[in-house]
Amino acid sequence: MDPITKPTSEARKGDIVAPTKEKGWFYTDTVKEHFFHPKNFLDGEEGYGDAYMGMVGSPACGDAMKVWLRVEKGADGVERITEFKWKTFGCASAIASTSMLSVMVTENGGLPIEEALKLRPQDIMGRLGGLPARKVHCSVLGDKALRSAVNDYYRKSGQHEKIKVEAGRIIDKVLKITDHDIEEAVLEGADTLEKMRQRTKVGTGDPSCIPEVEQLIRFYKEKYFG
C-alpha cells in the first residue's frame, strides 16, 4: 500500500480532517509520538561546533532545517553516522520527519554514510506510517540537510572527490530542489505546476525558477506519459 496517499487503517486513528479538502488529513500515532516527543533535537549548539553541519530551507517558506552529524570509522573501514542532531522550523510533519530521520540513521550502531545517502523522503514517510498527501512537501528537507552535512564531513576529512552538491542540477536555489526532485514528483502524479508546488513547495522562496519548473514538468510528462 502506498503510504503517501493511501493511508493504512491504523493511520486513520486520531484523524484530523481539513474542512475544505477532498482528502482528509491526519497524523499517525507514530507521527504524533515524534512530534510531541522528538528524538535527537539539539538543545543549544554548545559542544557541536566541531560536528558536521548541514542546513536547508528558510523560515519564509515555512520550513527550515539544520543538522549536525558525528561520523566514526569502524575497524571494518566503514564510516557510520553515530550521532544526528537537528533543529527544525516547521509543522508537525516536518518535525516528526526530522525526528524519524535522526532515528533511522543512528539506529543499530549507525547507518553507513553510503546507505544514509540513499534514504529518500518516501522511506521516512513509510516509517512514520504515512503523511497526509498535502503534507508530503514538509518531509522532503531531511535528506537534503543530511546530504549537506555529509558533504561537510567529506570536506573536513579531505574526501573532496566524494562531495556531491546534489543528486541533480539545482533548480530552486532556496529549497535546493533539483531536476531530479521534479522528475520524481512528476512520476508521483504532480503533472501541473499547482500540484508540483503543493508537493515540493518549489518556487516559494525562489520564484524565478518557476518558468524552468514548468518546462521540466512538460518534459518529464512527455517522457513518461506522452
Partner: protein
C-alpha cells in the same frame, strides 16, 4: 520549564477539559436557540410554500423571524433574505450585483478609456467568500477589480476607498470586522463618503436617482459585538451568519436595501421574492432570529466582559519574548487576540496547545490548503516568517478568567519548547 504534552491530542480523557478559544471559527449552539428551533423539525415541519395548516405555521415562523431580524437591523421586513450562511450571502452580493449591471454598462458606457466592465472595490483582508468570487469574476473578464490595501493594523482607509470610485463602480465590499485579526473597519465612514459621492453625482445630473455604487459589508464576525444598524452604517447589503453567534450552522441572511438590484444565484421555485429559490430552512431560520436577538441583547455586557479577558490574554502573551500582536491594539473585536511567535511555526504550536486541551487556530501556510500563509496577516505588511507563526485565540460565552490564565500558564513553555527545536533566530529589529 517545558510542558510534557499528553501522548495523543485527539483522544483525551475527561480529566483534561476542552478550552475552546476558536469562536471565530464557529460557536456552540445556545440552548435557548435549540429550544426555539425544536418545534420546527418534527412538529411544524411544513413547507412554507404550502397552503395547508402546517405550511402556514412554517410560513408564520419564517415571517416572524424575518420581522424580528429586520427590527434588530433597523431595516424593513422585506429587506431580509434567508440564505445558507455567510458564504452564500457574500456570494449573492459580490457575484449578483456586478452581473446585474454588466449588460447595462456594456451598452451605456462607451466612453473612451473605460473598459465597459462593472467596477468593484474591495479590501485586501476580506474573507475568501468575498475575495475569491471577485477574483474569479476578474479572471473571467466580467469585472474590473480594485483591491485596496490596509495599514499595518489591518484598517481600511475610507478616503482610499472613496478615491477608488469610478463612474463604472457598482459595488464596494468591505467587511465590518476581520475574522482573523479582529480589526474593526470604519464602515460608517465609508458609507458616509459614499453618500457624499452619490449626492454629488446626482447634483451633476449625471445619473438621476442612482444609488450606485452599492455598499456591502460582511458582518459575520461583528454581529455579536457591534451595533448592526443599517441606517447608521449606510450599507445597502449586509451579510449575517448563524454559526458565529451561537446559532445553527448552515443558515445566514442577506440584508438588501429596498431598490437594490442583483442577479440571483439560486433559481427555481421563486422563494424569497425570487431572489433565493429553495425551500426555506425553517428551524435554522427560527434559530438565526433567536441567536441574533440574544447576541444583540447581550452585546454590551458580553463585549465588556470579553474585552477585559482579551486584554489580559494579549498582555500575557506579549510578555513572551519575541511575540507581536497582529491587528489593531484597540480597534479590534472584544473576543479576538492574534499574535505571532517569531521563530516557530503556527501549526506546531496549535497542536501542542491542543494536546493541553486548548483549541486555537493559525494563519500558517502549513495549516492551509495553499502554500501561502494568511492573506490577511500578509496584507498588514508582516513578513512570511511572522505570518507562519501566527496564532489566533477567539474568546466566547464559555471563556473564563481561569481559562485565560491556564493558556498563559502553558503558552510560554510551548513556545520555549518549539524554539528549542527551531534553527531560526530572527532579529526583532525587522518586526518593530
Amino acid at each position: 520549564m517545558t510542558p510534557t504534552p499528553s501522548s495523543s491530542p485527539f483522544g483525551r480523557g475527561r480529566a483534561n477539559p476542552v478550552i475552546y478559544l476558536d469562536h471565530a471559527a464557529t460557536t456552540p449552539l445556545d440552548a435557548r436557540v435549540l429550544k426555539a428551533m425544536q418545534p420546527y423539525f418534527s412538529d411544524a415541519y411544513g413547507n412554507p410554500s404550502s397552503f395547508h395548516t402546517l405550511g402556514m405555521r412554517a410560513k408564520e415562523a419564517v415571517t416572524e423571524s424575518r420581522i424580528r431580524i429586520a427590527k434588530l437591523l433597523n431595516a424593513h421586513e422585506d429587506e431580509i433574505l434567508f440564505t445558507s450562511g455567510g458564504t452564500e450571502s457574500d456570494n449573492m452580493a459580490v457575484l449578483g450585483v456586478p452581473r446585474y449591471f454588466a449588460e447595462k454598462l456594456r451598452t451605456q458606457n462607451s466612453e473612451p478609456g473605460t473598459s465597459g466592465l462593472p467596477h468593484v472595490i474591495t479590501s485586501a483582508i476580506e474573507h475568501h467568500a468575498v475575495l475569491e468570487p471577485l477574483i474569479w469574476l476578474q479572471r473571467r473578464k466580467e469585472i474590473e477589480l480594485t483591491v485596496v490595501d490596509v495599514d499595518r493594523y489591518g484598517v481600511v482607509d475610507s478616503k482610499v476607498v472613496a478615491a477608488a470610485i469610478k463612474p463604472t463602480t457598482v459595488l464596494i465590499s468591505v467587511m465590518m470586522a476581520n475574522n482573523e485579526i479582529g480589526t474593526i473597519e470604519p464602515i460608517a465612514d465609508i458609507g458616509r463618503a459614499l453618500l457624499k459621492y452619490r449626492t454629488l453625482r446626482q447634483a451633476q445630473g449625471m445619473e438621476k436617482g442612482t444609488a450606485l455604487p452599492y455598499f456591502h459589508t460582511d458582518a459575520c464576525q461583528a454581529t455579536g459585538f457591534l451595533e448592526i444598524d443599517v441606517e447608521k452604517l449606510h450599507v445597502d447589503l449586509l451579510t449575517l451568519n448563524g454559526s458565529k453567534i451561537y446559532g445553527p450552522k448552515g443558515v445566514g441572511a442577506l440584508y438588501v436595501r429596498r431598490g437594490v438590484k442583483f442577479q440571483a444565484l439560486m433559481i427555481g421555485g421563486g422563494q424569497e421574492k425570487n431572489l433565493r429559490s429553495g425551500t426555506e430552512n425553517v428551524p435554522a431560520i427560527v434559530g438565526l432570529a433567536k441567536a441574533l436577538e440574544l447576541a444583540q441583547a447581550d452585546r454590551e455586557r458580553e463585549s465588556a466582559r470579553l474585552t477585559e479577558l482579551r486584554d489580559r490574554l494579549v498582555k500575557g502573551l506579549l510578555a513572551i519574548p519575541k511575540t507581536i500582536l497582529n491587528g489593531h491594539p484597540t480597534e479590534r473585536l472584544p473576543n479576538s487576540a492574534n499574535v505571532s511567535f517569531i521563530d516557530i511555526e503556527g501549526e506546531a504550536a496549535v497542536l501542542y496547545l491542543d494536546a493541553e486541551g486548548v483549541m486555537a487556530s493559525t494563519g500558517s501556510a502549513c495549516a492551509s490548503a495553499s502554500l501561502d500563509p494568511s492573506h490577511v496577516i500578509l496584507a498588514t505588511g508582516l513578513s512570511y516568517e511572522a505570518a507562519h507563526g501566527s496564532i489566533r485565540f477567539t474568546l466566547g460565552h464559555s471563556t473564563t478568567k481561569k481559562e485565560v490564565d491556564y493558556v498563559l500558564k502553558i503558552m510560554p513553555g510551548i513556545v520555549e519548547r518549539l524554539r528549542m527545536m527551531s534553527p531560526v533566530n530572527l532579529d526583532m529589529k525587522y518586526f518593530s
